[in-house]
């Protein structure tokens, strides 16, 4: 089945080559980081996590969102998503792989990372995150492989795969819940210590992930013969709309609780994000951009006319994805450290090597998803012929 990824037209190979270049640049930067240490990044003793961990957090959501196509299809027999499930599962595989890479590049002693398995520590959430992420990866690899192989051979998938697929649904919820618990259980970080963090993570995941899937479907329709169909995309758009509404609602609840209670250590993090604190305004333009993008996205999504038009829908999906990327992939992690528990605001700006490593991992994820989609669509082409 893998050989399908080795046959392709000119455009295909150009795209692969371009990704390869970005990956190579990232790899070179990583080797520099490996030799020098994490001091090559913009991180500091007060802002100890940054771009890497934030991308990890964001991508866990993208990975978990596969459940939004798998659940309707398998639990509610929603046939329309039949063609999409494999795309969702492959998106999950590539997102989880990126998550693991982002964790890996954030380690000070990467060669010792298997100590997490050598000395299993159930009282650490990081241990459970490793368990749930690797389990989710295995589940999706097995499910997508078995169902695609069955499709290729024009036979129904084996019966044992059904319970595995059902298991993957709560498992998807678990990966993002456990990831939220990484943060929400820390008394030292009031910004994260909120019971709504896990539900908020899920809401943002279930809007950003399907939005990305819609964009992928639209791209695939242009560059390949695969057509997801108008109706499934519209159904996905409704999922994006509801999830985005819930996400914005949750964020407003966080704002109300912090601002109305007026407890300084709760307010300061939001001040840092939206106004700036002690003269540090690094994230202010980003956060307002995120707010504007979210509002624009909601207007385009809630309005049936703009939602039904695939061009404005695409714009809405881009706005959802970017808005949530800023909120989760920048704001959420960095603001947890600003101010520090001792009240210090330390400037954090990602450095060039840090950004290069981040882009390299994203390119790797895109490469993975390109190859996987290529395989899936080639198999489909085969069965159709």
């Amino acid at each position: 089945m893998l050989e399908k990824a080795l046959v392709g037209g000119r455009g295909y190979w150009r795209w692969i080559l371009a990704l390869g270049v970005v990956i190579a640049l990232g790899l070179v930067s990583y080797l520099r980081q490996f030799a020098f240490g994490l001091g090559i990044t913009g991180l500091s003793r007060d802002v100890t996590w940054g771009l890497y961990i934030a991308q990890f957090t964001f991508l866990v959501g993208v990975a978990a969102s596969a459940v939004m196509v798998v659940l309707p299809y398998y639990l509610h027999n929603f046939k329309m998503f039949g063609k999409l499930t494999i795309l969702g599962e492959f998106l999950a595989i590539s997102a989880v792989t990126m998550c693991m890479l982002f964790i890996f590049v954030d380690m000070g002693q990467p060669t010792r990372v298997l100590n997490v398995m050598l000395y299993p520590t159930p009282h650490s959430l990081m241990f459970w995150d490793m368990v749930s992420l690797s389990g989710y990866l295995v589940l999706n690899v097995v499910i997508s492989h078995v169902t695609l192989a069955a499709e290729r051979n024009s036979v129904p998938p084996p019966r044992w795969i059904k319970p595995v697929i059902i298991l993957s649904i709560p498992w998807a919820v678990s990966i993002h819940t456990v990831t939220a618990f990484l943060y929400s259980g820390l008394a030292a970080r009031p910004f994260w210590m909120t019971a709504i963090l896990a539900p908020r993570f899920l809401a943002s995941a279930f809007s950003a992930g399907p939005a990305l899937l819609i964009l992928f479907c639209l791209v695939l329709r242009r560059v390949t013969r695969f057509d997801a169909g108008r109706e499934p995309i519209q159904r996905l758009a409704i999922i994006v709309t509801y999830a985005m509404l819930i996400n914005v609602f949750f964020v407003l609840m966080e704002l109300f609780t912090a601002l109305y209670s007026n407890i300084p250590e709760d307010v300061e993090h939001f001040t840092f994000l939206f106004v700036g604190l002690e003269g540090n305004t690094t994230l202010v333009p980003w956060m307002w951009a995120s707010a504007v993008l979210s509002v624009v996205a909601l207007v385009l999504l809630v309005n049936p006319r703009t939602r039904h038009d695939e061009r404005t829908l695409a714009a809405a999906c881009v706005a959802v994805f970017l808005g949530l990327w800023i909120e989760k992939g920048l704001g959420l992690i960095i603001a947890g450290f600003e101010p520090s528990p001792l009240g210090a605001v330390t400037a954090y700006t990602p450095t060039v090597p840090e950004i290069s490593i981040t882009l390299g991992i994203y390119a790797f994820g895109l490469l993975l998803i390109t190859l996987l989609y290529k395989i899936a669509l080639s198999v489909r082409g085969e069965t159709a012929a």
Binding site: E3, G37, T48, R112, M117, T121, Y183, L186, A188, F337
Partner: protein, 256 residues
Amino acid sequence: MGQDRRGFLKLAGLAAVCATARESLTRLAGAAGTEPRPSAKAPKVRWAMVVDPRRCLEQQNCTACIDACDHAHNVPAFTNPRHEVKWIWKTRFDEAFPDQDSRYIDPALTSEAVLALCNHCDNPPCVRVCPTQATWKRDDGIVAMDWHRCIGCRYCMAACPYGSRSFNWEDPRPHIAHENPDFPTRTKGVVEKCTFCDERIDRGELPACVVACKEKALVFGDLNDPDSEVRRLLRTRFALRRRAGLGTQPEVFYLV
């Protein structure tokens, strides 16, 4: 033909996984075997420190305790404040005690005046979150570090409400002026902090900072011994603990 190749590749992959799995399982079993168990006859000691900021302030520019600690433990002196490594250091009153209103306090206290160090909490959040038990609470209450095991994930730094943990953002060796050959340095990519001088305590000595302080502003002792100096001080004087409301139970006390 294609089917055969697929089958072969699958089998080869599975074999590779099994081969490595066996090795890691043996290692796992071996590692579990060598894991030290707390000895049954552990002494019921609970080490703690009492800081007297007034005595400390009598020598405004004194850094004897800091220097002694830095030298004893090869603490690197990074000039870049973002990469600073701190075991015991002086800080502002409002940073040390953010939940105490310091508006009308003696101005002498609002400058860099309060000694801060790891609180060796009885309920340490750093220990709770560490995924490899590279930091853990010893039977005598010291929150210890195993620099051989730390993977540098910095979760403990996110969890510590006191900023007591530092990370080696780069190789610390070039930043140590005078190496003490009897104590290791650290390597890049691990977290470090004050260890209450566990290496000295195990030899029956007092922590280096306590010995170095001529003003006797630092008192070290056993909280479980009602006749100890720390208990006597805590009985007769009122003491603060940093951010006591978080429930971490710091075991470094500040006399008022």
